[in-house]
C-alpha cells in the first residue's frame, strides 16, 4: 500500500481537498422544488467563521490603505489647496443662515405632520438616524457586488440596514462583524428592493443583472413609462424607507423571459462603482435626532434674535415719531392721526381739510388774491392788497394789470 500512496500522493491530496470543498458547497446550497439551486442567505456557523477569518486578516491592511489615502487627501485639501476658501466660507455662512430659517419652518411642518399621523394612527418610515461609514474594500469579484465599510456591530450596525448616499440608495448590510460590515449593493444579482416610478406610480422590483446594471422587473407593458422618469423606493421591503431616490429610467425593453412584461433599465442615482462615504440608516423611527433637535434650537434662537432686532427697530421708530412733530399733523382730526402703538403702521398721505396759514404771506399765498375781476379795456388794476397779505409784500414792478394770479389751491404738504 505504501508505494500506492507515495506514487499517487499528489492526486490523492488533490482529490481529498476537492472532495472536502464539494461537500462544503453542498451544505451551503439547497435545491428548490423546481430543481434550481438557492444559496442560503444566512451563513452557517462554519461559513461565518471562515468569513470572519478572512475579514480579520484583510480588514486591517485595507483600513490602513484607505486611511492613508484619506490622510493624504486631507493634507492636500486642508493645508495646501486653500485657494478661495475664505470667499467660499462667506458664501456658505450666508447659505447656512438662510437654510436655518427655512429648516425651522420645515421642521415645524414635519412635526405637525407627525402629530397628524399619530392622530390618524398612520406612520411612514422616515430616516432619522444614520451613521456615516467609509468603504474600505470589496469582494474583488464582479460576480459578487459587495463592499466592506469601516463600521460594525460596535457602532450599532445590524444586518439588513439600508445603506444610502446623498444621491440615492446603495444597498443593505449583510454580514456584520465587530468593526466592519459587508454591504450588498443593489446592482448585485441577488439583491432586490421595492421601487415605485414617481410619475406613473407603477411599482416593481429592482434587481441587478450580470453586468452590474440595475433593472426593474415584474412590470406589465405600459406605454406611459418614458426614459428620464424618476424612480423612488416604495418602502414595502422593510429595508429601505420610502421615497429615497433610486435613479431614473434609462431604457424600456421587453422581458425576454415573460411575455407582456417589460424590463426597465435604470440609471442609478448613486455612483455605485465609486463609493467612498456612505450612510447606514440605523433608525427609521419617527423622532428627531439630537442633531436635529440642536438645529431646531439654533434655528429658533436665530429667529428669536431676528424678532428682537425688529422690535428694537420698531421701538426706536416710535420714539422718533413722538419726538419729531413733523411726523404728525396736529391739525388733523384724531381719527386720522397715525396710531403710535401700531409699529407697522405705514404713513399715509393725508389730505388737509384746510390750507395752513402762511407765515409770510405774499400774493402767491393761498387766498392772497382777490376775487377775479373782469379784465377789459379801461378796467383799473386793483391796488388793494390782498387780505392777509403782508404790507411788505413785494409788488411786481411795472404793469401789474396784465398778470393776476388766480387763488391757488395749495397742495397738501403738511406731511412728508
Amino acid at each position: 500500500m505504501e508505494p500506492f500512496f507515495s506514487r499517487y500522493r499528489n492526486i490523492l491530496v488533490l482529490f481529498v481537498i476537492l472532495l472536502a470543498q464539494i461537500v462544503g458547497l453542498a451544505v451551503q446550497v439547497r435545491r428548490t422544488t423546481d430543481g434550481r439551486g438557492i444559496l442560503d442567505s444566512n451563513d452557517g456557523p462554519g461559513v461565518r467563521l471562515i468569513r470572519f477569518w478572512a475579514e480579520s486578516l484583510l480588514a486591517p491592511p485595507e483600513r490602513s490603505i484607505h486611511y492613508t489615502k484619506i490622510g493624504l487627501l486631507t493634507l492636500w485639501q486642508n493645508y495646501l489647496d486653500l485657494h478661495s476658501v475664505r470667499q467660499q466660507n462667506l458664501d456658505l455662512q450666508r447659505t447656512i443662515d438662510r437654510l436655518r430659517l427655512e429648516q425651522a419652518s420645515l421642521l415645524e411642518d414635519a412635526r405637525q405632520g407627525q402629530r397628524l399621523q399619530a392622530v390618524l394612527d398612520f406612520q411612514q418610515k422616515y430616516i432619522y438616524t444614520t451613521i456615516p461609514a467609509q468603504a474600505i474594500g470589496s469582494s474583488g469579484s464582479d460576480q459578487s457586488r459587495v463592499f466592506y465599510i469601516d463600521k460594525g456591530s460596535n457602532d450599532g450596525i445590524k444586518p439588513d440596514m439600508a445603506v444610502i448616499t446623498a444621491d440615492g440608495i446603495v444597498g443593505k448590510t449583510r454580514d456584520v462583524f465587530q468593526h466592519t460590515a459587508q454591504v450588498l449593493e443593489v446592482n448585485d444579482q441577488t439583491a432586490g428592493a421595492g421601487v415605485i416610478l414617481e410619475t406613473t406610480r407603477i411599482r416593481g422590483i429592482l434587481r441587478g443583472n450580470g453586468a452590474g446594471l440595475l433593472e426593474i422587473v415584474g412590470i406589465m407593458s405600459d406605454q406611459r413609462i418614458k426614459p428620464g422618469e424618476k424612480i423612488l423606493t416604495a418602502g414595502g421591503d422593510m429595508i429601505f424607507p420610502r421615497g429615497l431616490p433610486v435613479g431614473e429610467v434609462q431604457k424600456v425593453i421587453p422581458d425576454p423571459d415573460r411575455d407582456s412584461y417589460i424590463l426597465v433599465q435604470v440609471k442609478p442615482a448613486a455612483q455605485l462603482a465609486r463609493l467612498d462615504e456612505v450612510l447606514v440608516v440605523t433608525s427609521t423611527q419617527p423622532r428627531f435626532s439630537d442633531q436635529q433637535q440642536q438645529d431646531i434650537a439654533a434655528s429658533e434662537a436665530l429667529k428669536g434674535s431676528d424678532v428682537g432686532t425688529m422690535k428694537e427697530q420698531q421701538k426706536a421708530s416710535q420714539i422718533m415719531a413722538e419726538r419729531l412733530p413733523g411726523l404728525t399733523d396736529p391739525n388733523l382730526p384724531v381719527v386720522q392721526q397715525p396710531d403710535p402703538t401700531q409699529p407697522d403702521a405705514t404713513p399715509k398721505p393725508v389730505t388737509p381739510t384746510r390750507a395752513l396759514p402762511p407765515l409770510h404771506a405774499d400774493r402767491f399765498s393761498p387766498r392772497a388774491a382777490a376775487a377775479s375781476l373782469p379784465v377789459g379795456p379801461g378796467s383799473q388794476p386793483s391796488t388793494r392788497p390782498a387780505a392777509g397779505s403782508s404790507p411788505n409784500a413785494i409788488r411786481p414792478a411795472g404793469n401789474s394789470t396784465t398778470k393776476r394770479m388766480a387763488p391757488a389751491t395749495a397742495p397738501a404738504t403738511g406731511r412728508n
Binding site: 468569513r51 485595507e62 469582494s139 463592499f147 454580514d175 467612498d276
Partner: protein, 173 residues
C-alpha cells in the same frame, strides 16, 4: 533542455523564498484584489490571488504545495464575497495543481511560456467557476466571456511585471 529525470530536475530547479515572502505576497495579493476595485470601478480585469497561486506553484514545482496555495487563496477570496465558499477554492485548487504539474515538465523560466501559461490557467479557472456555479450548484449566474478574456489579458500584462519582481526574492544557492 536538461537531460535529467523529472524528479532530479525538480530537485535541482526548485526555488526557495524567505518565509516573509510566502506570507506577505498572498496577503498583499488579496488586499489588492479587495481594494483595487474601489479604484478602478467595474473593470476588474485582474486576479492577483490566481497569479500568486500560479507563480508559487510553478516556482516550487510541488503539486501538493500548489494545491494548498490554491485552496487557501480561493477560500479567502470566496470568504470576501457573499457567495458560497468553495467555488473559487475548487477552481484555484485545480489551477495550483496543474501549474505545479506543468512546472515540473516545462521550462518556466521563460517569460513567454509563463505568460501563455497564465492566460490558459486564467481561462481554465473561469471555466471551472462557471461549471461549478451553473452545473454543479444549479445557481443562476449571468456571465460574460468577454470579461473573462479581458481578465486573462490583464493577468498576462501583470505577469510581465509581477513575476520578474517576485523572482528577485528567491534565495540563491
Amino acid at each position: 533542455m536538461s537531460v535529467l529525470g523529472l524528479e532530479s530536475r525538480r530537485e535541482v530547479e526548485i526555488r526557495r523564498y524567505p518565509l516573509l515572502v510566502y506570507v506577505l505576497a498572498p496577503l498583499i495579493a488579496l488586499v489588492l484584489q479587495a481594494w483595487l476595485p474601489r479604484v478602478v470601478g467595474r473593470y476588474i480585469w485582474f486576479d492577483f490571488p490566481l497569479l500568486i497561486t500560479v507563480y508559487f506553484a510553478m516556482a516550487r514545482r510541488s503539486p501538493i504545495q500548489g494545491t494548498i496555495m490554491g485552496v487557501i487563496m480561493g477560500l479567502l477570496e470566496d470568504a470576501l464575497s457573499h457567495r458560497a465558499i468553495g467555488i473559487n477554492g475548487i477552481s484555484k485548487t485545480v489551477v495550483g495543481f496543474l501549474a505545479a504539474s506543468v512546472g515540473v515538465r516545462i521550462d518556466v523560466e521563460n517569460h513567454t511560456i509563463r505568460t501563455v501559461l497564465t492566460i490558459l490557467l486564467s481561462l481554465l479557472s473561469s471555466a471551472i467557476y462557471v461549471f461549478i456555479f451553473r452545473i454543479m450548484l444549479g445557481l443562476a449566474l449571468e456571465w460574460s466571456w468577454f470579461n473573462e478574456l479581458a481578465r486573462a489579458a490583464g493577468n498576462a500584462l501583470i505577469v510581465m511585471v509581477l513575476f520578474p519582481l517576485l523572482d528577485r526574492f528567491k534565495i540563491r544557492d
